[in-house]
Structures are given as C-alpha cells and as structure tokens.
Amino acid sequence: MDAVLVRDVHKRFAAVQALRGLSLTIPENSFFGLLGPNGAGKSTLIGILAGLVRADSGEVRVCGHDVVQDYRRARASLGLVPQELVYDPFFTVRELLRLQAGYFGLGRRARPWIDELLGLLALEDKADANMHQLSGGMKRRVLIAQALVHRPPVVVLDEPTAGVDVELRQALWALTRRLHAEGHTLILTTHYLEEAEALCERIAIINRGRLVALDDKDALLARHPYRLLCLTLDREPPALPDPLQARLVERGDCQLTFRLDRHGDPVGAILDQVRALGVEIVDLHLEEPSLEEVFVHLTREAA
C-alpha cells in the first residue's frame, strides 16, 4: 500500500490555479522530497493531505484512507510539522503535547511516549517552560514533537530547517533519518536542495501545480543531460572557437569550465579541441550535476 496517493487533484484559489491535475504516489517507508519553486503548489498539496485545504476535485489518500470520506483515520496517519513557528502562548511545552495527544483520542496513555519524545528532542529541561520563552530552534523541536505525539506512520516536514542554525539542522537531519529507519514515511519540502539530495530517496518536483518529475533521486540526477568539465591550463588560452565558446560556462585566467551534454559531447573531442589551441592541460575533473541544476533545468523547461 502507498503511504500517500494523489490522483488528478485540482485546486483553485480565486484567480490562481494552485494544482492542475496533480497525481503522484509516495511509497510506504520512503524518504520523499517534494520540491518546487515558490508558488508551485507544494503547500497546497500538503494542506490537502493534512485536511487544512480542500481539493476541488480528485482523490487523496493517506495510508489508504480518503482525506475527506475517512478523514479521522487519514489525519491519525499523518503528522504535520508546519513551516511557521506557530504555538499557543497560553501553555507550556508539556501541556501542549498532552493537549495534542488528547485531540487524537489519546489520553493518559500517551504520557510515557510524551516523556520519551521530550528526551528524544532534548526538550526535558524546557518541558515546563512556556513556548514564548523558547528559542526558535527549541520551538521547532516542539513542533516536531507535536507532529509525532500520536505516532503517525507518515510525517510531513514543511521546510523544517528554514532559518535554523547548523547544529540544529544536523540534529534535525539525524532525527529524520532515525524516524525513517524506524519505519516512518517522511515527506520533506525544502528550499535547500542539498538537504533533499542528502536525505531523500525519491523526489517529486512540481511547478505551477503540475508534476514535472517523479523519480528515485539517483535516476533523477542521472536524467539530467549535462555535466561540467573543469580544466586547468598551463597558460591563458587564446580566443575560443565557436563550438567551445558555446559550451563555456566559466572562464578564469588559466581555467575553463564547459557544460557538456552527457550524450552528445564526448569529453575526448572537447579535450582535443582545447589542445588544438596550443595549450597544455595541467589538470581536469568532471562534476556531476547537483539536484539544484536538475531542479533549475526541469522547472525552467516546464515554464
């Protein structure tokens, strides 16, 4: 069974068509990255999964449960870590976690797990502090604890590391990896593409409400048709002939970087053309594309 199924979902907000027939599936126990530029429809999709937004048409299921018809079980299957640092200023951390567990139908029996969560997220010292006394990083941890308090099989992290320091980011990465290892399905939206590259196994890129790519991360990276050839020369080269100039992306005193088509530009032929300029190649290396380049390529193509 898929952790998430989205089929032909449309959603319009006034004049803006946020989702245009979006379909995708997220396998159980996967670490899934949901990427897209601002306004792509990521937050709308997450809102629909969590019951915060209602789709105009289409079908959405979480762990097999329809988010409209069977909303109780769908919501019980999902934990959402919202992007904004939102909290109820009236309550302490422990009180908030107990309330959140209660909303999900768990009473006192959730208390041992709440204590465990406080330890897991290094929040024991802050358990009886009011939320407004906590730093941004600590508030972020509380949001994660709130999302996990009912032990949902699917956890959605909406930009979890936006604006957090390096130490907390590392801690959050470690926690998400642990949750994944324990069998949770993780859905991550992020603007830090290296984060998605480091954590996610499978990635969807959406743009203007449409799916533009959905693949395993490695396959997605391999699908990108370009790679970079970086050369260091013994001296500054003369003017480049047109075929080389067309592929040049960066030029230093003695350095040239070419963007090569993986299939149409054999490296040997390029090297021969450079040597024909009367310069010696001192060093060379190839750079495979990063997710960022794939992302830019695909979203630009879709636009």
């Binding site: 939102v86 109820d88 209660g102």
Partner: protein, 255 residues
C-alpha cells in the same frame, strides 16, 4: 462515532485557557457588572419601581448577571478562535481527527461554562450589596442561563471564524452584540418603553433570555417564560445550525 477524548480535550483546553487568565476573564467582567449595579442602584433605587414590590437593585441584578454571562460567553469562543487564527496555532486542532460537531461542542461548552462562572460570581457579590429575594426557580434560571450562554458562545464561534482581524471582531461585538444586550431590558422593563420601541424589543432575541433569567430569579417577567424559552431555544438552534454549516464547509478555516 464520536472522538470523546478529543472533544473533552478541546473543551478542557478552552476552559484551561480562560482559567489561566482568570483575572481578565472572570474577575474583571464581574467588577464591571458590579460598578453598573452600584451606580444605577444608587441613582435610581428610590425613584424607579419596575415591578410592584421589587426594588430597582433587585430588578437590575438578574439583568446584569445575564448580560455579563452572555458577553463573556461570546468573548470566550470568539477571542480564542481569532487568537488561534492570528497566531496560526489553530492548525493543531484542524489537523486532528475532530469533526465539526466536536469542534462546535467543545468551544460552545467552554463558553457556557465561562458564562455561568462569571454569572455566579456577579450574583454572589451582588448578594452582599443588594437585598435579593430567594431564587424563584432554579430550573428556569439554569435553562435560560445555559441557553443564553450557548447562543452567545455559538455567535462567538461564528464571529471568530468570520473575522480576519481583531478589528472585524470588535465591530461584530460593538455593533451587534453590545447594542442587542444593552437594548434588551437589562436596565428597564420593555413595558416602560414607547410603543414603537417596545414592539421593536420583541424582535431582539436577547430580550427573551434576559426576561427569562429575571423570571428565574424573581418570578416576574415581561412575557410568558414558556414563550421566552421557546424563542431563546429556537434562536440558539438557528445560530447553531448556521455555525455547524460554516464549520462543515470549512468557512475561512479550511481553505
């Protein structure tokens, strides 16, 4: 199937919320009501007798009790909702497996409880200041107090989900709730009004709940308490149906 634990938790959270700021939510409105009582009673006690044998202070207390009760019931649900919307923390309730009915019952239940609590405090302190006769009928008193608080608690939910900012909520409160409660016979009997205003008062649903509470306290009222109860219950049901429809639609809270 009802999520009883979820319903109770949301109700308890709403009660807990106002108890955490009890000075602001219970004591302050009680003091305000008592100031009204002191001023109007001092000025009018020897000049006005609304019902034969009932002093103006005794006449005023039930009206002030119910006015304070309903204003606080409204404030409880409306302020909690608008704050949760503005802070963004309403999301934690919206992602939970709670139905519209459970959401409604929790907010309205807490509003009723705050209304009754503030009403009891006003009444208890008024006992020390005014020579009040024994309560005529606890059953009538409770019926009108609970229904009145419920109606205003429901209106508070409607206002809370409708308002996008505090300013809009203040407009709802100041241009609708406050005039309806002040012009409902708290300070006078509608029979003392000119015919046009007397007839107009009959279209104010708040008049019936205040008249009904006065009947519960004193055993005297402007209209038959059975009619008042029917109109209060009908009005509460009508606003409840509207509120539930808005919640089911996700009006302004689920986009």
């Amino acid at each position: 199937m009802i999520n009883w634990v979820g319903l109770y938790t949301l109700f308890a959270k709403e009660v807990w919320r106002f108890l955490k700021v009890v000075t602001q939510t219970v004591l302050t409105p009680a003091v305000t009501a008592l100031l009204y009582l002191l001023v109007f009673r001092t000025v009018l006690e020897d000049h006005v007798e609304v019902y034969p044998g009932v002093g103006y202070g005794a006449f005023l207390v039930p009206g002030l009790v119910v006015m304070t009760m309903i204003q606080n019931a409204f404030a409880n649900s409306s302020s909690s909702l608008i704050q949760s919307k503005m802070n963004g923390n309403l999301v934690f309730v919206l992602v939970a497996p709670l139905s519209s009915l459970e959401f409604f019952l929790a907010f309205v239940g807490a509003a009723i409880l705050r209304g009754l609590l503030v009403g009891v405090v006003v009444w208890a302190v008024a006992l020390a200041l005014v020579d009040l006769p024994p309560v005529h009928s606890v059953a009538w008193l409770l019926a009108f107090s609970v229904l009145g608080s419920a109606m205003l608690g429901v209106l508070g939910v409607i206002a809370g989900i409708w308002a996008d900012k505090y300013d809009q909520l203040a407009a709802f409160q100041n241009f609708l709730i406050l005039p309806l409660s002040f012009l409902s016979g708290v300070f006078y009997s509608i029979h003392d009004l000119p015919p046009f205003w007397e007839r107009l008062s009959l279209f104010n649903p708040f008049f019936y709940m205040i008249d009904g509470v006065r009947h519960g306290f004193l055993g005297v009222s402007d209209v038959d308490p059975v009619l008042a109860l029917a109109i209060t219950a009908g009005s509460t049901l009508a606003v409840s149906a509207l509120c539930l429809a808005l919640l089911a639609k996700g009006y302004k809270i689920r986009h």
